[in-house]
Point group: C2
Chain length 562, copies 2
């Protein structure tokens, strides 16, 4: 069974390893629901399966009695999902994971890769059920739930499997070693074993959990570690489904399902710190706020920590050819999932003297007004808004939005009020169009940190080089994941690329058209650099995988003649 | 000049990368002084060069005025070396390193690899001078100073360069990416830059600094980071020479010599903690005591720490064919550099009921007596002792030896008193033959931790499986780097290999003959696993190098038709 799984998925693995090397475009699964092999029937069944989960105990077959989850409320309906997850004791989870470990630890990397890739395929086959779960927890649109939280997140997971498998494959299983000592030749046979490190804890965020959990989960699992997934208390269901699939496939392959456990907590009684500081924890993957991420980085020891937190991402506008495509691209990115993505831009720097365009210089005020108009073309058209902005995951985001609004209004100029739109299918959905405020580069206290959610600043600056200096300094000191620049001046773009390279943010230049600005492609785009406070880990470089296992060796004199 | 260096050393680099993959025997430089290309003249010149260093300012051309080093006293002569190293202020060192950084950061990996390999070659060409420096600081024999602290340590350095270069080469410089979004195909060109992390601090031990400093120094330098080397205050000279060679080669290649700095402190006024906690520090490599290593691991954040500390290494005696070769192998290993190596065995478990051999069962007492005899065949013959035991680096080691002796005498049986021998060339040399005590497995407080220096315990146990359980548990909980086993029973050896694999110690089975038991071969033997308290890093696996640099990326729409 287990070698069958490796053979079954070998072509996918080989192709993924090749894509990681060439960094060309590739995906293991079609990202359009129309491509799903189950067709319309799968779509209907997925919805039914999702609905059957609501208001009931969620059976994982592991430790813990089912308890209704108080914090899990659909951003679409405002109703609690009512799913009762097993509320396992932290010690029980560690004990179960530790008991389950030895057989998995001793399995070879082919077996483990086969199991992990089978899990990915099973999740893909249940994409519709997972998508509804993502919608009603993270609050994404159906399309994003299917692609971004589905196939694209699975690609990130497969990428991690591929990078880890390639890293493990670089260590030979055995070697023959021969050397002279004086007049005698000593021959040794050596054996190298890959040893996983121990229990891995994966801490998920609320608004886009799959995208970081899959790489972390699979990077730790494929290298032989048991994993405990700790979802955000307000966004459990998709992760619980993923954990259940892991457990099913592990059990079918002859391993203990306890290799992947689920730790469910509540906002009132969080367990994250207990998990991170548990003496058996050896690996921590964390996605969430910068403040908590810093705590994890500083306190995970002796565990190794891989973090992705947040940052204030910037847009530098130096000069453009045609203005409208740029405004549409920016507007799309500000609206996409109501800017609740770690890659969403926030700080748009525009020269005080205006932006040179093919049609003449456009003043900063006109640029801001044009941007507001382009945003409204999405945010005020309910069907479009529903597809692009979707909902606001947490009521707290709206509270913070209001605070920022009031502070910006007192200082700068509100270019666009953050008005909710009425979702065509879910009239009670929690929504908001973006807040767009025009401020001065001196108003650093307003824009100098991440304002999570649909908030963007048009920042008047002396010129684009001042903007570059400010934005890269903020990236270095406070964190940034992405950056965007528009310029017809090649020399400026060179400075931009060099500046963000040392600041540790990925920069996208002069992009317009149908691709969302902040789209990050698995196998091709490195996500987070680890060079600034927005996180210490990168999806998926070698350092994301190579610290999850170790090499131990044994050696003996070779039997002569062999 | 700089691409010349890459071309000059390319064959060495390629061969080293291949050796890391195959893990076969290879060395970049002959380990016998007779193979040195400079012949007898180089030998004489090396000695003269060393002597010319004594009692004088050591010019590095960097920050800091020369101050005589109070702690550097030759273990051979008992005389201070009198070398006056520049005593640079910590802030000056960081400022110089930071100023020097940009050009090196922007140099490509070929340039950096060429410079690093040229440094290795220059150090090799000055092997004799370096060997005298190692002798009169670390206290090693001339042979070990030349090979272990010389060519073998350089091989470990080249191994780190090779692994880092291979890791950097896996990231392509550019990619073309093409994907459909709706009916439009978006084409992007992407550029990936390797970005070093920042100032790397390398903290060296007193007795074998080169072996860990070279891998750490070159792993950080080749990946683009400036390095500050902090030698042990009692063992500075060899590291100061290495730093000077780095600075010379860097300057010749057009880079700032301040990319490699030297931080000299004293036992009375140590600066290690200041260096580790400096806000600009991004990487720390540490070799030294387990206690200080734990502090470094826990306190280096936000820097990443790579540590090698120490552990109590074990020998399991289950059954042997011929006894004498085993006793000679063990004796050699107990004597080698007076067991001041992190790989030296300490705890020799022997079944209470005796050891089955081809010539009948040998009682535990006879085993211990035979071992003492084999040790004395080395330790009481001055010329042999000088070549094998050399000196005791620190007077503190003799004090600790006396303590252990008295505690063991009160409890167990002293099989061999640790008597000094008279060094034939250096009558004032600080020497000691090994202490051999026979104790019971219940005397865990005596043998359960590392006793640095020439101390070994013959531990009476019920049987070899009890020994395996105790020794692997100690390795897991308290740290061990190596382990050794002798058995004619294959099933037992399988249990031994599996047991130490999970305990994280490298195990050598049934080795006798001319190769020192604890010889660790660059490119082939992984040194330290990171799985137990003896250190968190391994020479040289991927995780030792991949966290020293990051990938940053930029992307733009592709110009059509290109």
């Amino acid at each position: 069974m287990t070698t069958d799984l490796f053979d079954k998925h070998r072509a996918t693995l080989d192709r993924a390893i090749e894509a990681c090397r060439s960094r060309e475009s590739w995906t293991a699964f079609g990202e359009s629901p129309a491509d799903h092999p189950g067709g319309e029937r799968a779509r209907a069944e997925g919805r039914t399966a999702f609905e059957a989960l609501l208001g009931r105990p969620f059976d994982l077959g592991g430790p813990g009695a089912p308890v209704a989850q108080p914090d899990e409320v659909s951003p679409y309906t405002g109703e609690p999902l009512g799913v009762c997850y097993p509320r396992a004791d932290v010690e029980e989870l560690f004990a179960a994971a530790t008991r389950a470990w030895p057989r998995w630890r001793e399995a070879d990397q082919r077996t483990r890769a086969g199991v992990c890739l089978e899990i990915c395929e099973r999740i893909y086959l249940r994409s519709f059920e997972f998508s509804h779960a993502a919608m009603h927890t993270a609050g994404q649109s159906f399309g994003m739930s299917y692609a971004g939280s589905g196939t694209n997140a699975l690609d990130r997971g497969i990428e991690a499997i591929a990078q880890a498998y390639a890293a493990m494959s670089r260590v030979p299983g055995t070697a023959r070693w021969s050397r002279a000592f004086g007049s005698t030749t000593v021959e040794m046979t050596k054996r190298y074993r890959l040893m996983p490190k121990g229990v891995a804890v994966v801490i998920a965020c609320a608004s886009f959990p799959a995208w970081n959990v899959y790489p972390a989960l699979f990077a730790s699992l494929v290298t032989g570690n048991p994993v405990i997934v700790k979802p955000h208390p307000g966004s459990v269901l998709q992760m619980a489904l993923a954990v259940r699939v892991c457990r099913e496939v592990l059990a079918e392959a002859g391993f203990s399902p306890e290799l992947v456990g689920l730790a469910v907590d509540t906002a009132a009684e969080p367990v994250t710190k207990l998990l991170v500081r548990h003496p058996a924890t050896r690996i921590v993957d964390f996605t969430g706020s910068a403040a908590f991420g810093s705590w994890v980085e500083a306190n995970a020891f002796p565990a190794v920590a891989y973090t992705e937190t947040s940052g204030a991402n910037s847009v530098l506008v130096h000069s453009v050819g045609e203005l409208q495509p740029v405004l549409r691209a920016l507007a799309g990115s500000l609206c996409l999932f109501s800017a609740q993505m770690c890659t969403s831009p926030q700080n748009i720097y525009v020269p005080r003297g205006g932006v040179p365009t093919a049609g003449g210089t456009v003043s900063a005020a006109d640029f801001a007004a044009g941007l507001a108009e382009a945003v409204q073309a999405i945010s005020t058209v309910p069907r479009r808004a529903a597809a692009v902005l979707a909902t606001v995951q947490s009521p707290n985001t709206l509270r913070l939005l209001e605070e920022v609004h009031d502070r910006a209004a007192a200082r700068g100029r509100i270019v666009l009020e953050p008005r909710p739109y009425r979702h065509p299918d879910h009239p009670k959905a929690r929504t908001s169009g973006p807040l767009l405020a025009q401020v001065d580069i001196a108003d650093h206290d307003l824009y100098g940190e991440e304002r999570f959610g649909p908030v963007a600043f048009v920042i008047d600056c002396d010129d684009a080089d001042q903007a570059l200096e400010r934005a890269t300094r903020d990236a270095r000191e406070r964190g940034a994941i992405t950056a965007f620049a528009y310029a017809t001046d090649e020399a400026y773009l060179d400075r931009v690329e060099a500046g963000y390279a040392t600041a540790g943010a990925a920069v996208t230049c002069n992009l317009t058209g149908p691709m969302p600005l902040n789209f990050s492609a698995a196998y091709s785009d490195y996500h987070v650099t680890g060079l600034n406070p927005a996180g210490n880990a990168s999806l998926t470089d070698d350092s994301f995988v190579t610290g999850r296992f170790r090499v131990t060796q044994s050696r003996r004199p070779a039997v002569t003649g062999h």
